[in-house]
């Protein structure tokens, strides 16, 4: 009955979807271990029923954020608020959060049922009520036939579902997933994260995920916060952070990104000696200032002539250096031809490439990917000279601009 009520409660709160209620928020969390700062001024909130992903490399501090919310670690400064209740000074057991540990942390000497009922048993609920809740949750996570088994007898995915059911039993304020798919093989993790996504929609409990896997973050999150060296680089929908990265780190962390330096002019950007028409936010970028433009390999289109389709903006021309077949698409590495122009005052490297691909970043190269139809209709060979155009790009503010705009807001 309890579990059903959990679901119903949250369903009834769905009417407020238009104006999402804040379920959990952290304000200005910072944390230090000795002299080194682990977290700096972390602030974000999670709406009712929302899934937020904290994405970052290992050592970025994302796990610490989770542990601070759970009450397993104390922040140096800042507050943690769950459903309007300031829990910063409460111990973990009084916060009512559900943590799904990377190792699941199921109690090895308890059966599946006992694990799920644990939260209610220690709350001294009536036996009948516990039994009912456990039954409902077993049905929810589809593990009815495994109720008498011990965790060691279950697969990784089943264990994880037990771990989720175990936290849902006591109606958690928020679910915290610590690298939930880290220990699983690729196929299982893809399958599982879809399952969890569907499950979360059903129970409508707000969730915070931690991952270092960008693909996972984009698929799981309603919003994604990219964490780097203890601070939030950007927080936004998967679409926003992938297509409009706010910083170079975000751009490169979320997959391969080409980055070129450019100079802001009145109504265009100057990349080398090429003029790229652009709509420029005058608030942010002054004429003559030096910026970086970032675009994804799939935003690059290559053609043999200067004749471009609408929406394609020529940035340069280049020589095909390498063509590799990567299954779904073809990846082309191009060396851009130096086309004069004193791009930036300090402009030692007008072009460069950052990718997460294993090959060493080659300066003055960019990477383009071409879908199969295009790859087979316009065959390219190594050494071919092609016109490089882009269909979409983002202008990255430089470090100083970011800081000034941050202080303004």
């Amino acid at each position: 009955m309890k579990a059903k009520r959990v679901i119903e409660n949250q369903k009834s709160s769905e009417f407020s979807k238009s104006a999402p209620q804040v379920a959990a928020s952290v304000f200005g969390i910072s944390k230090r271990f000795g002299k080194s700062s682990v977290l700096e001024n972390i602030t974000f909130d999670v709406a009712e029923g929302e899934a937020l992903v904290l994405l970052g490399a290992s050592g970025s501090g994302k796990t610490t954020i989770l542990r601070v919310i759970a009450g397993l670690e104390q922040p140096y400064t800042g507050r943690v608020v769950l459903h309007g209740r300031d829990v910063t000074d409460l111990p973990a057991r009084e916060r009512g959060v559900g943590v799904i540990f990377q190792s699941y942390a199921l109690f090895p000497k308890m059966t599946v049922e006992k694990n799920i009922g644990y939260g209610l048993r220690i709350r001294k609920r009536r036996r009948k009520e516990i039994k009912q809740t456990v039954n409902d949750l077993l049905a929810l996570v589809q593990l009815e036939e495994h109720r008498k088994k011990y965790p060691s007898q279950l697969s990784g995915g089943q264990q994880q579902r037990v771990a989720i059911a175990r936290t849902l039993a006591y109606k958690p304020e928020v679910l915290l997933f610590d690298e939930p798919f880290g220990a699983l093989d690729t196929q299982t993790r893809v399958h599982l994260r879809r399952e969890i996504r569907a499950l979360l929609r059903k129970v409508n409990v707000p969730a915070i995920f931690i991952t270092h896997d960008q693909e996972e973050a984009l698929e799981l999150g309603d919003r994604v916060a990219v964490i780097n060296k203890g601070h939030i680089e950007q927080i936004g929908t998967p679409f926003e952070i992938y297509n409009h990265p706010a910083t170079e780190y975000v751009a490169t962390f979320l997959g391969a990104a080409n980055i070129l330096e450019a100079v802001v002019r009145d109504d265009y950007l100057e990349v080398g000696s090429t003029r790229v028409p652009a709509q420029i936010d005058r608030e942010k970028f002054k004429t003559g200032s030096c910026v970086k433009i970032v675009f994804r390999p799939e935003d690059v289109s290559l053609s043999r002539s200067d004749f471009l389709k609408t929406g394609q903006l020529k940035v340069s021309s280049g020589i095909v250096e390498e063509i590799s077949f990567v299954g779904a698409y073809e990846r082309v590495r191009l060396k851009l031809e130096p086309n004069g122009g004193d791009t930036c005052a300090n402009g030692d490297t007008p072009y460069y490439l950052t990718t997460q691909t294993p090959e060493a970043p080659t300066q003055k190269s960019i990477i383009a990917t071409r879908p199969k139809p295009e790859a087979s209709s316009v065959k390219l060979n190594i050494g071919d000279r092609v016109v490089v155009a882009i269909t979409s790009y983002t202008i990255l503010p430089t470090q100083e601009q970011r800081e000034t705009s941050a202080t303004k807001s």
């Binding site: 759970a70 397993l72 111990p91 916060r95 190792s103 942390a105 109690f107 220690i122 011990y150």
Partner: protein, 278 residues
Amino acid sequence: MSTVVSTMKHVRGFDVARPLSIGMLVFMMLPLVFLPLASIFIFGTSNGLDKFWAALTAPEAVFALKLSLATSFWATVFNVLFGLFAAYVLSRYHFWGRNALIVTISLPTAIPTAVAGFALLLLWGPYGTLGRFLAPHGVQVMFTAGAIILANIFVTFPLAFGVIKPVFDTMNRSLEEASATIGATRWQTFWHVTLPSLRGAIVSGALLTFARAVGEFGSTILVSGNLAGRTQTAPLYIFAKFNEGQIEAANAIAIVLALFSFLIFSVLFVARDWLDVD
């Protein structure tokens, strides 16, 4: 806990090394272990089972056995609880002097038991460091059952600790963290999560301690006074009867003690699967 034994496939035909090596092993153990054990049983029952039964049920013999079991029991209770506590503290907290404490706890097994008994006498005896202040008040610690328990505690001190601590060390800390986030108090976490994982270690630690304490001789003979019917434990009874030339009496108790330790180790061996259940 079944292990698959691989057969040696690299040997063609009948492997002679197999029966030879097994036979060799048994042959070497014969004079060292099997025959001494067998002779207790052969000798003890050679005069007929009724004589054996009479020697076993002699009041002093029964008393010695009971005293051994009782003193070992209390020493075991103490050392398991202490070992649990010490293991918890020493694997959870890192502090200055931690290693020194671990070494000190482990020390008593390395000390000859006679030295241990002597040390206790020097502390609690009527002229001992502490004992001389207690003696005028009529408090006599040595030469009582309490002294035997103290000696047993001392010589079996690190046994339970040594079995329990590694389990604590390798225990997944996130289990306890999970329990806390679910809402359990420290005590509830310990009772429902930590303790069940230690079940095997506690049982085997207790059995080891008990087996060792029941057989303790060197320290007991010094601190107990060896008074028949009052502070004489089973091993002391064997020794005393042997000195008096009453080989049958000594032998009857020896059989019981041998069977007893055999039983304990059988339990440990058979219960291993149950104790390790995940």
